[in-house]
């Protein structure tokens, strides 16, 4: 049971655990992390590769590994070298390879790089090299990563400065758990020092990790004696700032810092803390075995990898450093079938009455589980069966490891869902929802992760197999529903929308869904009932956009005039997008309410007219006009002078530079103007805005709604031009 683990430059490791009244500190002297080295990849995936990769048995080490052992023995970075037998992949038997104990945590990568340069290229394969340090310590010393809150609950402290502030002066804006720390940097540092001593937190949440060096520097400048954030002296920089590309998206990862004996969570660099809060994070620490501080900054993929690494260790399989495993050769005809992706039935554009949405629960994870899909089971080589539809891949009879990793998560999520239904306690519900949310993200990502080339245990063939099953399942469900008298309006990935087919009797949806669930082995749930659903066309086209629709849920009343609440479900339209200014969202939601009541594009345009009148009068608060865009590259890397660039430059002008992956917020004051004067940043508290630009944005938002009844942008503009007064209908609907 561990709260956190410190790695000291001496090589010692300090392990902190909770006690009734504080923490217990244990020093682990001479901790030597372990990596492994096997022979050239050819033995596993190469010449003898193909379907049966097991290399021939051998007794001791190969000549080339013996040579490596001689070279490494006696090097400072190496504490010990042994010959041990382990499995290098899920599909091979244990065989003798080199086990190297490194002198310190930093020596691990150094040794691996040295091995890579020694002998011929690709002569060796390294294992257990890039495992994060606290996680590695827990694995290698058999320590639970769970802080064990049965001893006592964790204490946390939150330190924040506003996002656009930096430098010593920003400390005057510092808050401690929401309260202002002090009017001067010196007072703020003293207040932090006092709070940390009094509260003795286990977790320090910072709005940005840069606060840590900043506070220490300020303490130094202002001679605050014995200033500490940790339970021992100083702080450590774990990683520098960097920019990376993942799944085609540019991300920014800020520098990481930690302090001894406490967990640091950086609010500007955490996914799970945002999604699930501290409670949800701790739940996930327990499931994934990744220590809290590392879970704090981990991506979804990293948590999924941690789960898989644990499963691999249970089977004595090592963790490959580099992604060596290639796909097997396949006929172009098979690749052609595999490349078709998920099945979609293009939506029937327009408004439909009496619509039902049915969803397969956690479709992809359940396909993995029920079809035994795992990197070592698909095209296993030992079974000669035709299991995957369209592709003809075999799936092994032996249980795969991936289903055993995902199974408990699928079960946990559905049991949490049941508990949420049952509970009447709000705090309890909130906690359950955070747990559920953390698990949900892992389940929804496991499919994409299989196709991700650098995934530790990913495999493209798994990705293809999952897709092929999903396609078959959706098509079978469509057929069953049509046979039962339903018309399928739209289908995508795991969801199907149906309406009663005219001139036919319908069998009950519950019955058909139960039959399909039985047949497929995955529950088809009757997700929602709608009074009506509108599927939008793609912009400038008549065919349906796959993920743009809105509809009125049956038996759900709107909370009050102008509010959408849960009564109207929307997808893919402006109100759902994070970048949309609140005012545009309001216009669109008002329009949706009126559309629900009237189904009339005229009435919807009247709503627009009313809002535009207010806009032109200057009655809209600039806070409601803030655009929020994700930054995809540095300001000087953009080739076009977009508003985002203007905003980034303006932020730079004010001394803040935003990195790719962060969000820039701005108000458009003069879209056609020049340079940084086209926009204002929120803290500048501007009173003016660019009426035409916001008008265009509002018209586009309205177009999204009325396009489903065939109105285009020009029709809206024409209507506005013709309208001099708002109609009575709109007054009734909107006010």
């Amino acid at each position: 049971m561990v709260l956190t683990v410190d790695f000291r430059s001496s090589g010692d490791v300090v392990h902190w655990a909770l006690t009734d009244d504080g923490v217990a500190r244990t020093v682990h002297e001479g901790y030597t992390p372990t990596l492994f080295v096997g022979d050239t990849v050819r033995n596993l995936y190469g010449r003898r590769g193909g379907s049966t990769p097991t290399p021939p048995d051998r007794d001791g080490l190969s000549d080339s590994l013996l040579e490596l052992r001689t070279v490494l023995s006696g090097q400072d970075a190496v504490a010990d070298i042994q010959c041990e037998s382990h499995r290098q992949t899920f599909r091979t038997d244990p065989r003798p390879i080199l086990r190297i104990d490194a002198a310190s945590i930093d020596a691990v990568r150094r040794i691996a790089q040295r091995i890579q340069q020694f002998n011929h290229p690709a002569e060796y394969t390294c294992y257990n090299v890039d495992i994060t340090r606290q996680f590695r310590y827990c694995l290698e010393t058999d320590t639970s990563a769970n802080p064990d809150q049965s001893v006592r609950s964790l204490r946390s402290l939150t330190l924040s400065i506003p996002a656009h502030k930096s430098g010593h002066a920003s400390l005057t804006h510092l808050t401690i758990d929401g309260d202002a720390a002090g009017p001067t940097p010196e007072a703020a540092v003293n207040a932090v020092d006092r709070s940390v001593r009094e509260r003795d937190p286990d977790v320090i949440v910072v709005s940005t990790a840069d606060l840590i060096p900043l506070l220490f520097e300020a303490a130094d400048t202002h001679d605050v004696p014995h200033f500490e954030l940790g339970r021992a002296s100083g702080y450590t920089k774990l990683a520098g700032e960097s920019t990376y590309t993942s799944y085609g998206q540019v991300g920014h990862s800020p520098a990481r810092y930690t302090v001894p004996g406490r967990v640091v969570i950086d609010e500007s660099n955490t996914f799970f803390y945002h999604e699930a809060g501290l409670a949800g994070c701790l739940d996930l620490v327990d499931r994934a075995g990744l220590p809290l501080e590392e879970l704090g900054w981990a991506s979804i993929g990293r948590v999924l990898t941690a789960l898989q690494i644990r499963a691999a260790r249970d089977r004595d399989v090592l963790v490959p450093w580099q992604a060596w495993r290639p796909e097997l050769f396949k006929p172009a005809a098979t690749l052609d079938a595999a490349d078709r992706g998920g099945t979609t039935f293009a939506p029937a554009v327009g408004v439909h009455e009496d619509v039902h949405e049915l969803d397969f629960a956690s479709l992809y994870p359940n396909i993995i589980r029920t079809r035994n899909i795992s990197p070592e089971t698909v095209r296993c080589g030992c079974c000669d069966s035709d299991d995957v539809p369209d592709l003809g891949y075999s799936i092994c009879e032996t249980d795969g490891y991936l289903p055993t990793v995902l199974g408990p998560l699928i079960d946990a999520r559905s049991s949490i869902k049941d508990q949420i239904e049952e509970t009447t306690d709000n705090a309890e519900r909130e906690r359950l929802e955070s747990d559920s949310s953390a698990i949900k993200w892992i389940l929804v990502s496991c499919f994409g992760y299989q196709g991700f080339s650098n995934a530790k245990f990913g495999r493209i063939e798994c990705h293809e197999a999952i897709n092929a099953f999903a396609r078959e399942i959706l098509l079978d469900a469509k057929t069953a529903l049509e046979d039962a008298g339903w018309r399928v309006l739209h289908g995508i990935v795991d969801s199907i929308w149906v309406t009663p087919a005219s001139d036919r009797d319908q069998r009950s949806l519950a019955t058909v869904a139960a039959e399909v669930s039985d047949e497929v082995g995955i529950t088809l749930e009757h997700e929602s009932e709608f009074d009506w659903v509108a599927f939008c066309p793609m912009r400038n086209s008549e065919s349906g956009a796959l993920t743009r629709y809105f509809g009125k849920r049956r038996h759900e009343d709107r909370p009050s005039a102008g509010e959408v609440g849960d009564a109207i479900k929307t997808r893919g339209i402006e109100a759902r997008q994070r970048s949309t200014p609140p005012w545009v969202t309001t216009v669109q939601e008002d329009a949706l309410c009126v559309f629900d009541e009237t189904r009339s594009p005229d009435a919807v345009c009247d709503v627009l007219h009313r809002h535009l009148t207010a806009l032109r009068r200057g009655d809209v608060a600039t806070d409601d006009l803030v655009v929020a865009n994700r930054v995809s590259k540095r300001a000087d890397a953009y080739t076009q002078e977009t508003l985002i660039v203007a905003a980034l430059r303006r932020a730079q002008h004010h001394g803040t530079s935003l990195a790719p992956g962060q969000t820039i917020r701005y108000v458009v004051v003069s879209a056609d103007g020049h340079g940084i004067d086209r926009v204002r940043l929120p803290f500048e508290e501007t009173q003016s805005y660019d009426v035409d630009w916001y008008e265009d944005a509002a018209i586009r938002a309205i177009e999204s709604i009325v396009s489903c009844v065939g109105w285009e942008n020009e029709d809206i503009r024409q209507y506005l031009a013709d309208t001099t007064e708002t109609t009575l209908e709109s007054y009734l609907g909107g006010e």
Binding site: Y45, R48, Q117, W324, P326, E327, F329, A332, N454
Partner: protein, 229 residues
């Protein structure tokens, strides 16, 4: 489709066994390579093995080009997504599972080695190792090995040195033309009387249908396949 009265002349370079580096004008895409691949398959009895590191295995285009769908069962593809996967794949080409190939193709051989997670000296070594593996496959099976690269620079110099032939496929006003520096190869793919060509899908479909006929290889007339006069 073919309106000329005479049997048109359709040329693709005859590839010798061993490494041929093909540089292609970027406007032409990967289609010239796919056409060379098909041409070797028509002429031989075995299949093609294609290792792609350039993200250019477009089965849609392959399917459209094939004069008969059944050719798609004779073209074996595998894609490398990391430098290490590519290295493993090229090893596998030399393995016992590759039998009786008519041609081996490696597209974008340098691309993944340029990735930032591979150090430069190591990348250079891995590239050389890959070229050696390809040359070996060509030797063992005595078949042509077609290689393309993503960039012509110092890094890919070893590919030029190892290649027996270096072809350039240019987009000329008379259509795509293969040439080599030595002047041994000069093939204008399709001579049309009026000098007006389209380097479109239909163009290449017609080229391949003619080549298949020349080699007495099967051609079916589906509604999508070109009609031969």
């Amino acid at each position: 489709m073919n309106t000329s009265r005479q049997q048109p002349r359709v040329e693709l370079p005859e590839l010798d066994a061993g490494l041929t580096l093909v540089d292609i004008d970027s406007d032409l895409g990967v289609t010239p390579v796919q056409s060379l691949l098909f041409d070797c398959v028509f002429a031989g009895t075995g299949g093609a093995y294609w290792v792609d590191a350039a993200g250019t295995v477009q089965t849609t285009r392959l399917r459209e080009l094939a004069p008969d769908r059944r050719y798609l069962d004779r073209i074996h593809v595998a894609r490398g997504f990391t430098a290490y996967q590519q290295t493993s794949l090229l090893d596998r080409l030399a393995g016992e599972h590759v039998t009786n190939p008519s041609v081996v193709v490696a597209t974008g051989i340098d691309r993944l080695y340029r990735d930032s997670d591979v150090s430069t000296p190591h990348a250079q070594e891995l590239l050389v190792r890959s070229i050696a593996a390809l040359a070996r496959v060509g030797r063992v099976h005595d078949v042509p090995v077609i290689v393309t690269r993503s960039r012509d620079d110092e890094f890919t110099e070893p590919v030029v040195n190892a290649a027996k032939t270096q072809l350039h496929c240019r987009d000329t006003q008379f259509g795509p033309r293969f040439t080599d520096a030595a002047g041994d190869v000069d093939a204008l793919v399709y001579h049309l009387a009026d000098g007006w060509v389209q380097t479109t899908l239909a163009y290449w479909q017609e080229v391949l249908a003619h080549r298949a006929q020349m080699h007495d290889a099967p051609v079916v007339s589906e509604e999508t396949a070109p009609q031969i006069s």
